[in-house]
């Protein structure tokens, strides 16, 4: 089944460069079997510090490609910090340090020869609070292309339509692409941010509580969207909403006090968790 998905995926890709890359991934998968696929992102003995305060303790987890992985846990458990480490967003904060490593597709994100910008180009991110740029809808989408120096009109137009269609926003905004992004509703803005995150065809999509500020209808739309997007992207989502984690994710990681308590298939976590703490949390008895 995974191989089948891989081949349709490769066919659906428009850009030759990326298709080639995908083929390489596919080839390697053939060599190593499902192992590399299941261990697309590897977190190895990862600890993280804000100054002297340790917020993550020796995490170890393998995140599979093109699945949705949910990070759950009470506030302050470090799930957002972990998410923001995948694209090194925490670099913006002064006085941080880490131990251990995170590997994406076999390569360390802390590799000194890896430019953080090229890392972020491969990883899209959607934030808790929708943050459209003070520009038009069109310019919001093509921003990642423009900063990469890609300004060809045809490519930009194609990207805008593809991204907005993928984010299920195209029909609503196709006649007002030149209007400011602030003319959209809250749910539309968040979908615009998703469209922006996938405009540059990243491999991974990080979502930091993407629905926490939305009403149930908009939340439903975003969840449907996540279901469709996992066909193409590896998605890691942080959520406070147990039902949401159960609905959208394939694997779930439960973090508590900076430690990974349990990490397993979502079904298992919610129906038959191994750890007592996990059960207490998902059943609502604490947290």
């Amino acid at each position: 089944m995974n191989d089948k998905r891989d081949s349709t995926f490769a066919a659906s890709r428009g850009s030759g460069e990326i298709r080639q890359k995908r083929v390489q991934v596919g080839q390697r998968q053939k060599q190593t079997g499902n192992d590399a696929h299941a261990r697309y992102i590897q977190v190895r003995d990862h600890s993280f510090f804000y100054g002297t305060t340790q917020v993550l303790y020796d995490l170890n987890m393998d995140i599979p490609e093109r699945h949705v992985t949910a990070l759950i846990g009470p506030s302050g458990c470090g799930k957002s910090t972990l998410l923001r480490n995948f694209n090194r967003m925490n670099d913006l904060i002064d006085g941080i340090s880490h131990r251990g490593d995170i590997l994406i597709d076999g390569r360390s994100i802390y590799d000194p020869y890896l430019e953080v910008i090229s890392l972020r180009k491969r990883i899209g991110m959607v934030f808790q609070k929708s943050n459209p740029f003070p520009k038009s809808i069109y310019e919001n989408i093509v921003y990642s292309l423009r900063v990469a120096g890609r300004n060809r009109r045809a490519e930009l137009d194609e990207t805008v339509e593809r991204s907005l269609r993928a984010a299920a926003l195209w029909d609503e905004v196709k006649d007002r692409l030149r209007e400011t992004a602030f003319s959209l509703s809250g749910g539309q803005m968040q979908r615009l941010c998703i469209a922006r995150a996938i405009a540059n065809r990243p491999e991974i999509l990080l979502m930091d509580e993407p629905c926490s500020a939305l009403d149930p209808v908009a939340t439903g739309k975003i969840e449907d969207l996540i279901h469709q997007l996992k066909e193409e992207y590896t998605i890691i989502i942080v959520t406070h909403n147990m039902q949401q984690a159960a609905r959208v994710s394939d694997r779930t990681a439960f973090l508590y006090m900076g430690r990974l308590i349990e990490y397993n298939d979502t079904e298992k976590i919610f129906t038959n968790p191994t750890e007592e703490q996990t059960e207490a949390y998902v059943s609502g008895r604490f947290g």
Binding site: N87, M89, L92, D94, I117, S118, R120, K121, I123, G124, M125, F127, K129, N131, P132, F133, P134, Y143, S144, R146, V147, A148, T180, F182, G186, M189, C193, R196, A197, N200
Partner: protein, 578 residues
């Protein structure tokens, strides 16, 4: 199902609110009163200031009637030995009690304790343009129809009764001739046109030649100073001499033409009679404009008003700045403020970007920030002294030694000029821009920056494409503040390039068009010069108000432009949802 709150009527709600106010005294009510009072005091002062300036400033140009005042024969108030005075009644006020005699202070007539100020004009004949007369001594005030008020090139305005026009060809037109008025009008207009022509020739055509000759003379002096000349220098010197002769040849016909026009200005003579009966005469070429103040309707007055206002705004100053216009001062202020903005913007914004976005926030940056804030509080004269010492003497002197060494010892950039004045003010206002820009940058939401970085943008790209545009309105606010402070500043400018009367504008039609080394006039300094340096302070007073009004309007106009730009940017880059 409706809740109780939904069913409540507005009256209910109001009643409930009123009730609670009665039953429980709200805390902080007195504080609201105090804050409102603070605002009221501020507003009152501003309205009062503006009202004073506007009424006094605009009133200068409104043509007022000229009164013929006759004094009572039985009192001893006389004017120039006669019982009549002609003038515009400018002030009516109570006399200083120390000037009153016992009879006057006990007099049943209130008029005995009052006095009127008359603008008499004719400074050449009477020696003073204003005089006070006791109101009680005035027999009658009439407004004779045939009084002319004429603005002259010299000696200010004249108020008189016309007698006759004496033409060059020996003919004369008497004042009671019906064609007299139109005749005089035409001659004055012709003279004004010729004056404009002379001005054009002398300022631009001869001015251009003079400028070149001045430069050649400097070269010539430089060669003369040398002990021995190389062959090349000798040939250069000859070329200079040759060029000089060419310029002289060019100069002569222009000078002749100007002289011819000037001689035409001397032809026609207007003979007039003063209120004292004395007959005097004036060249028509000396009259700038004239009108019959007691014959005008409202429309006529408005027309005269507009004309006088226009001459004030567009004209060049005359007679130690007390007459004529203030155009060079307006222009100088404008150009200087613009140059200052051009200099202060990039420096201020760049410094703020580094300080806020790139510098590691720590003790050192905190110290730098404190130093910048303190810099904003340094008295402006200190900046003037620094500008004189650093820009004028050090930088300007260095430029002179390097590029204008042939003109030495006469300084080119090594003396006050509009460039140094602008830079000095830029230095003075740069803290304002830095502080405002820093605040604007800090106000850009973190989400926008993170979103941009997550898109694979570099830090600079984030600043360039998102942070700066979003901060632009705040940066413009800083510029508005800087401009307002810079345009109104006088003290430092006196040291670095402002003069009471500049012969040339800093920007004109002569190559290289913008003359950064030139001294310039400034409205603020003009006000000081008018109010405190002019020989007749009474006459200068209305001009001070008018100039103040122009300065205020100029600052308002500059601010308005910047505010419009800011609002435009704000509409473009921000919204309530962020």
């Amino acid at each position: 199902m409706k809740t109780r709150a939904d069913r409540r009527t507005p009256e209910d709600t109001a009643d409930k609110a009123g009730h609670s106010r009665r039953s429980e005294r709200p805390r902080g009510e007195t504080f609201v009163w105090m804050t409102a009072m603070g605002l009221t005091v501020g507003l009152t002062m501003i309205v009062f200031l503006l009202g004073l300036v506007v009424t006094n400033g605009v009133g200068v140009f409104w043509p007022r009637r000229v009164a013929l005042v006759e004094f009572r024969e039985d009192r001893d108030t006389r004017f120039q030995g006669g019982t009549k005075a002609l003038g515009v009644i400018t002030i009516e006020q109570d006399r200083d009690v120390r000037d009153l005699t016992i009879e006057q202070s006990e007099s049943p007539h209130a008029a005995d304790r009052r006095e009127k100020q008359l603008f008499l004009g004719n400074r050449d004949a009477f020696g003073q343009a204003f005089s006070f007369f006791p109101a009680g001594d005035i027999q009658s005030v009439t407004y004779p129809d045939d009084v002319i008020r004429a603005e002259r090139l010299e000696w200010g305005d004249a108020l008189f009764f016309p007698v006759r026009l004496e033409m060059e060809d020996g003919t004369a037109v008497e004042a009671d001739d019906p064609i007299f008025h139109s005749h005089l009008h035409r001659l004055v207009e012709d003279a004004a046109a010729r004056r404009a022509q002379i001005h054009r020739i002398e300022r631009y055509e001869i001015g251009r030649i003079n400028l070149q000759m001045h430069q050649l003379e400097q070269e010539e002096r430089y060669f003369a100073r040398q002990d021995s000349l190389t062959d090349q220098q000798r040939s250069e010197r000859e070329a200079v001499a040759g060029r000089m002769d060419e310029l002289r040849a060019e100069y002569q016909p222009l000078a002749d033409r100007a002289a011819e026009l000037r001689s035409k200005q001397q032809r026609d003579i207007l003979v007039y009679r003063l209120v004292t009966g004395e007959e005097r005469s004036i060249l028509v070429g000396q009259i700038v404009h004239h009108y019959y103040p007691n014959r005008l309707g409202v429309a006529g007055r408005a027309q005269i008003f507009a004309g006088q206002l226009w001459r004030f705004l567009s004209g060049y100053p005359r007679e130690a700045n007390t007459e004529g216009g203030i155009f060079p001062a307006i222009f100088g202020t404008f150009v200087m403020t613009l140059l200052m903005s051009v200099a202060v913007m990039p420096f201020g914004v760049m410094a703020a970007i580094y300080l806020r976005e790139y510098a590691r926030q720590g003790l050192f940056v905190r110290a730098v920030r404190i130093a910048i804030n303190n810099l904003a509080g340094v008295p402006s004269i200190v900046f003037g002294i620094f500008g004189l010492g650093f820009f004028v003497y050090f930088v300007g002197g260095g430029i002179d030694r390097m590029f204008f060494d042939r003109a030495l010892p006469a300084p080119t950039f090594g003396t006050g000029g509009i460039l140094w004045a602008s830079l000095t003010l830029a230095l003075m206002t740069v803290p304002v821009v830095i502080v405002a820009t820093e605040e604007a940058l800090a106000a850009v939401p973190r989400g926008v920056r993170e979103g941009s970085l997550a898109c694979g943008a570099s830090k600079w790209q984030t600043i360039r494409y998102l942070v700066l545009p979003a901060a632009a309105p705040g940066i413009m606010t800083g510029l508005v503040l800087a401009m307002a402070r810079g345009a109104g500043e006088v003290a430092p400018l006196m040291l670095v390039g402002v003069v009471a009367l500049a012969p040339n504008l800093p920007l004109d039609g002569l190559f290289p068009f913008i003359h950064l080394e030139r001294k310039f006039m400034h409205l603020g300094f003009h006000i000081y010069d008018l109010g405190f340096q002019s020989p007749d302070s009474e006459a200068a007073k209305p001009m001070v108000f008018a100039t103040t009004l122009v300065l205020i309007l100029l600052v308002v106009a500059l601010n308005l432009i910047a505010t419009l730009v800011r609002n435009h940017l704000r509409k473009k880059y921000t919204a309530d949802k962020f």
